[in-house]
């Protein structure tokens, strides 16, 4: 520690002393109000481990860097890497006998035991993504944001741009916003893009493909209103509409085709065919969120979304987070989420022999089915006096679906067709200011 050089004679220290004493006596309240000075880089990072029972595991790391480049003008960059391993349902239904499938590559086979949900065991993927946003004031009450993003997997490339405007009105108590995004994605699936309803050939046959790669575009528009209700309450309401065009099918998902005798047995030849979806989807959603701080400083954050599309899917999502603040910068935040979805019109858990020639579209992807997702979680966070934060959370996610009675024919009535799921999520996060990193490094060398 350095002392100032003694000045000539005594100097007035009363004011500095009084300020110091004020902090001593009043007890500085916690640093949540401390905002890092804009010259620094704000660094947020998180590591997520997601594991499904007997299925997929995912490790995902994020690094987010935000810097104020001019008055109230920010650049935000985010790097994400995730590694996925394990297996996921391939769309076929369980059977009383073992089932053998040909891998998408066509080079090998895998066998699923009797009475279990068939899973594609060769799932292994590495994804790297980068997104950059530029957020700037256009005038005192208008902000604009421009963003770009790219995400790369070994069989998938997604690139996109987005732009939004936010106009404050009503003495900044109301914000109107509008946003657009455009994404162009390219599939380069292993073994090529299967033709719609192409049969999964027995090894070593090759499936019929429509090409080696394919693509889709996704456009979205969002209109939103954010309203300050009072000193402690804030609400947001959005309407959004999106449209996807192009190849919207999952190139790895198949359907089981049954004999048309009501027995529920797989048909004798080529019992599995690749799924086929429409090449356009229009979806809309209404979203509402409220944030309220109680006099005890706890914060409730609750949202509801109603989503519907022209595939016949509609869903309701309720999300609730409640933050309890404790002395010394600790907080706990329970999280509850409830999601209920109705099935797409062309969702089928099985097909009957011959239907593939009469139907235009069919998919057994459980994500297009009728199901409920429930999430329960708890987050613990600690805010340091200097504004840094460290946090952890653990969540349990369960997914339970409803079988279509029309598809559960004959012996399949004894099987659970929908692949219910149970997953656990662990996350750790750390937020810092570049200043703190520098100070910490200097302390290490001291």
């Amino acid at each position: 520690m350095q002392l100032k050089k003694t000045q000539q004679g005594p100097r007035n220290i009363r004011r500095q002393l009084a300020v110091a004493t004020c902090s001593l006596l009043a007890g500085a309240s916690h640093a949540s109000s401390l905002i890092a000075s804009g010259d620094n880089w704000k660094i947020d990072s998180a590591l997520l481990i997601y594991a499904e029972k007997d299925r997929v595991s995912l490790a995902e790391g994020i690094l987010n860097i935000r810097k104020e480049i001019d008055d109230d003008e920010f650049i935000n960059a985010r790097i994400v890497t995730d590694v996925l391993t394990g297996s996921s349902p391939n769309g076929a239904v369980p059977s009383s006998t073992a089932q053998t499938f040909t891998n998408p590559s066509g080079n090998s086979t895998y066998t699923e035991a009797a009475n279990t949900t068939p899973l594609n065991h060769t799932f292994k993927d590495l994804r790297n993504a980068l997104s950059v946003d530029w957020d700037t004031p256009l005038n005192r009450n208008l902000r604009g944001t421009l963003g770009g993003n790219i995400s790369r997997e070994y069989d998938y490339l997604s690139t996109g741009i987005s732009a939004s405007l936010a106009q404050d009105i009503n003495q900044r108590n109301t914000t109107l916003s509008i946003g657009f995004s455009l994404n162009k994605d390219t599939w380069d699936p292993v073994g090529g893009v299967p033709a719609g309803f192409a049969v999964m050939p027995a090894f070593p046959g090759k499936k019929t493909i429509s090409g080696s790669n394919t693509d889709k575009t996704v456009q979205e528009i969002l209109l939103g209103v954010t309203q300050v209700i009072n000193r402690r309450t804030l609400m947001q309401a959005n309407y959004s509409r999106g449209q996807s065009d192009g190849y919207l099918t999952d190139p790895y998902k198949i359907l089981s085709v049954l004999e048309n005798d009501g027995s529920g047995n797989l048909r004798g030849t080529n019992p599995y065919i690749y799924e086929n979806r429409p090449d356009q989807r229009t979806y809309q959603s209404l979203y509402w969120k409220g944030v309220h701080q109680f006099p005890n400083e706890n914060v409730l954050n609750v949202s509801y979304r109603y989503f519907w599309d022209d595939w016949g899917i509609q869903s309701h999502t309720v999300d609730l987070r409640y933050r309890f603040d404790f002395d010394g910068g600790h907080y706990l935040q329970p999280h509850l989420r409830y999601y209920q979805q109705g099935a797409a019109d062309f969702y089928r858990q099985t097909l009957i022999d011959g239907e593939e020639t009469t139907l235009s579209y069919a998919s057994a992807d459980y994500r297009l089915g009728e199901f409920v997702t429930q999430t329960i979680g708890l987050k613990y966070g600690f805010e340091f006096k200097n504004g840094a934060e460290i946090n952890f959370r653990a969540e349990m996610i369960t997914q339970k679906g409803k079988d279509r009675s029309a598809d559960a024919v004959g012996i399949l009535q004894n099987q659970q067709l929908f692949p219910d799921n149970e997953a656990y999520l662990l996350q750790g996060g750390l937020s810092l200011d570049s200043d703190m990193v520098i100070k910490y490094i200097m302390r290490l060398f001291k």
């Binding site: 520690m1 100032k4 007035n12 009363r14 002393l17 902090s23 006596l25 009043a26 007890g27 006096k385």
Partner: protein, 308 residues
């Protein structure tokens, strides 16, 4: 149980703490309220005394002084932050690690002056700059000690006043919620506001043979606090030289020609205490320092023949 005494138009509560007679003057006619306020003040002062007494071996201070890395609570952290700020503000004159010097100095009026070698041996154990304080963790070097003795009483007076203000403000009775109170911890005073009649509290400062600032002439306490540093009865005397008990932590020796005592009025009792302590540390320049601060003060000097 603290005892309560009724005076003309107010109550006085008494209790003993921090080796002082403590008083709480409560500007109310409500005996129950006065009782409750006195109890609160006594509880807060005793709490601070126990938490930061250097004569106990079961408190946070004792744990810190063992020299291990210690994680401290928020209140202790604030005190340590404050100690650090004062160290910087006083350019090293005010140092909570200087208590170690008392192992050599016993100001009992005798001629028992320690040897220069003894002081020199202690000096490596003094100096806030050697303390590893990274809020909320602290570590002292082996043999060093922290002592809040120089802040404790004033801090307790302010804390008690603050607690009472909060308590009183929470009273539903409109009379009760504007009850002004004066805390007196053996001469260190803090008030919660002027008296109900709008006047300040009349405070007698023993100003025998002293100089004072112009503002001190007709003075009554409306806001803040008063504190006195120095003790005319604590000194050593050898070969006609009087050593005051005010030690300069930078040299380990008493400040030469310091005033016998300094009394200051400031925005809080703690402020007043720090200003009066620093004035003593300025020695013969004490009054220059006080004038610079623009506060009411009284300064009592030893008999002039002791001045060099």
């Amino acid at each position: 149980m603290p005892d309560l005494e009724r005076r003309a138009d107010y109550f006085v509560g008494h209790f003993e703490a921090m080796a002082s007679n403590c008083e709480v003057l409560i500007d109310t006619e409500d005996k129950n309220l006065a009782q409750e306020i006195t109890r609160l003040a006594a509880a807060e002062v005793c709490r601070i005394e126990q938490k930061y007494s250097r004569y106990r071996d079961n408190n946070i201070l004792h744990r810190i002084n063992q020299g291990a890395i210690t994680r401290v609570d928020e209140e202790t952290a604030r005190l340590l932050d404050y100690a650090q700020q004062l160290y910087q503000l006083s350019e090293g004159q005010f140092d909570v690690t200087s208590g170690v010097l008392r192992r050599a100095w016993h100001f009992d009026g005798s001629d028992n002056i320690p040897s220069a070698a003894r002081i020199k041996a202690l000096l490596p154990l003094v100096g806030w700059e050697k303390v590893q304080w990274y809020n909320p963790q602290i570590q002292l070097e082996k043999g060093m000690e922290i002592d809040f003795g120089g802040i404790g009483k004033e801090y307790a007076a302010d804390r008690a006043a603050l607690m009472i203000s909060t308590f009183v403000a929470g009273q539903s009775d409109t009379h009760a919620c504007s009850t002004p109170v004066l805390i007196n911890l053996g001469g260190d005073l803090a008030v919660t506001g002027p008296r109900k009649n709008g006047n300040g509290w009349q405070v007698g400062v023993n100003s025998g043979a002293s100089t004072m600032s112009p503002q001190a002439a007709d003075f009554s306490l409306k806001q803040g606090g008063v504190a006195t540093s120095g003790d005319a009865n604590r000194y050593l005397e050898k070969e006609g030289m009087r050593y005051s008990h005010v030690l300069d932590p930078r040299t380990g020796w008493p400040v030469k020609n310091a005033p016998a005592s300094v009394t200051v009025v400031a925005a809080s009792c703690t402020d007043a205490g720090m200003l009066s302590t620093m004035a003593l540390l300025y020695g013969p320049q004490a009054e220059d320092f006080l004038r610079e601060q623009d506060v009411p003060w009284w300064c009592q000097w030893h008999n002039k023949e002791y001045l060099l």
